[in-house]
């Protein structure tokens, strides 16, 4: 028999604790908490453009996009809930030809440069990985800037390769 809390039902389904009408469950006999609406995305930029210095970084192909938080037209992740989000970009940087290039790789929140990294390559096709957990308020949006404003920008030609070879991930941690 469910517990009614001001119209909100906490009940059990197949021995799992169910929250309201959602599919979020606590499954004590097996795994813990199942959170199938966990806001998350995993995707890549695959447009093949040769413009390496770019903002926003156009992650146009998403393998996972739970809650449709990532937009493949604005290239932004909009937080549906206040919380802590893991944010990761890993991809080839440089300009595709010069062995030594430099550039800034920034995390942009609500249009403002937040955290940034920098890399001075010594050969073509080097990998850059930028990962950090960031607290967002519901409605905040996040994107990546590759050596271009509003992120840090330099006159050097470094940027991010845009034909696969990159992995972009965001998910709600807690």
């Amino acid at each position: 028999m469910p517990i009614n809390i001001n119209g909100y039902a906490v009940s059990t389904v197949a021995s799992e604790l169910k929250f309201g009408a959602s599919n979020t469950r606590i499954a004590p006999a097996s795994y813990g908490i199942r959170d199938p609406t966990l806001p998350s995305m995993w995707g890549a930029c695959t447009d093949g453009s040769a413009t390496y210095k770019v903002y926003p970084y156009p992650v146009n192909s998403v393998n996972i996009n739970i809650g449709s938080c990532w937009s493949t037209s604005t290239f932004r992740f909009t937080a549906p809930a206040t919380g802590i989000y893991y944010v990761s970009f890993a991809g080839i940087v440089g300009d595709g030809t010069a062995v030594q290039t430099a550039g800034y790789y920034s995390i942009i929140i609500n249009g403002v440069n937040y955290y940034f990294s920098y890399k001075d390559t010594i050969s073509v096709w080097e990998l850059q990985h930028v990962a950090v957990m960031i607290n967002l308020t519901a409605g905040d949006w996040l994107s990546w800037a590759m050596n271009l404003a509003p992120g840090n920008a330099s006159s050097y030609t470094g940027g991010a390769y845009r034909s696969n070879h990159n992995m972009c991930t965001i998910w709600l941690v807690g």
Binding site: I5, G20, T37, G83, Q100, I122, L172
Partner: protein, 169 residues
């Protein structure tokens, strides 16, 4: 009116569920089923005002956000408030010219995981992520060591480096 379970109260306006104790919102399930834990122990921070290259043991990261007060800026130490699995991320830009070395996460002063760089120029970015099982009271910290030249280290002046720790489960 909430449902009291031994002092822990389940409350709802009808579309969300919150688990509270007093004014503390421990857990929330919103109308879409998204589960958040607003009190999750969490820090994110940077190196700032530490000079360059910087490799003091441990790295004295300055927290920009420090939920639960687990991170100590003065000692460069995270103290786990509860047993669990903690995600740790770190990213440094190495400011010395050609150099190599190791970037560690230590638990209770002992190496747990590390990554390695070996680069023929300055400004090489070195990152690491891991999930570490900890007991309540265990400490975590970031360490750069084993580098050559001995002066090699991170750019500690400001920006460029980023660090975060959070309780995952």
């Amino acid at each position: 009116m909430g449902f009291d379970v031994g002092g822990v109260t389940l409350t709802s306006p009808g579309t969300t569920l919150s688990m509270d104790s007093g004014a503390t919102n421990w857990m929330k399930v919103d109308a879409n089923g998204i589960l958040t834990r607003p009190q999750t122990p969490f820090m994110r921070g940077q190196l700032t005002g530490r000079g360059s290259p910087y490799s003091a043991i441990p790295l004295l990261v300055t927290a920009d956000v420090n939920v639960g007060g687990c991170w100590n800026n003065t000692t460069g130490t995270w103290t786990c408030p509860v047993a669990g699995y903690y995600m740790v991320t770190g990213g440094n830009i190495m400011g010395s010219a050609s150099s190599y070395g190791y970037f560690y996460i230590q638990k209770n002063g002992t190496d747990v995981i590390f990554t390695h760089w070996n680069h023929n120029a300055s400004w090489h970015y070195v990152t690491m992520s891991g999930i570490i099982q900890c007991a309540a009271g265990d400490t975590l910290r970031y360490v750069i060591k084993g580098q050559s030249p001995a002066s090699a280290g991170a750019y500690g002046v400001g920006g460029h480096c980023m660090y975060s720790i959070a309780l995952m489960a």
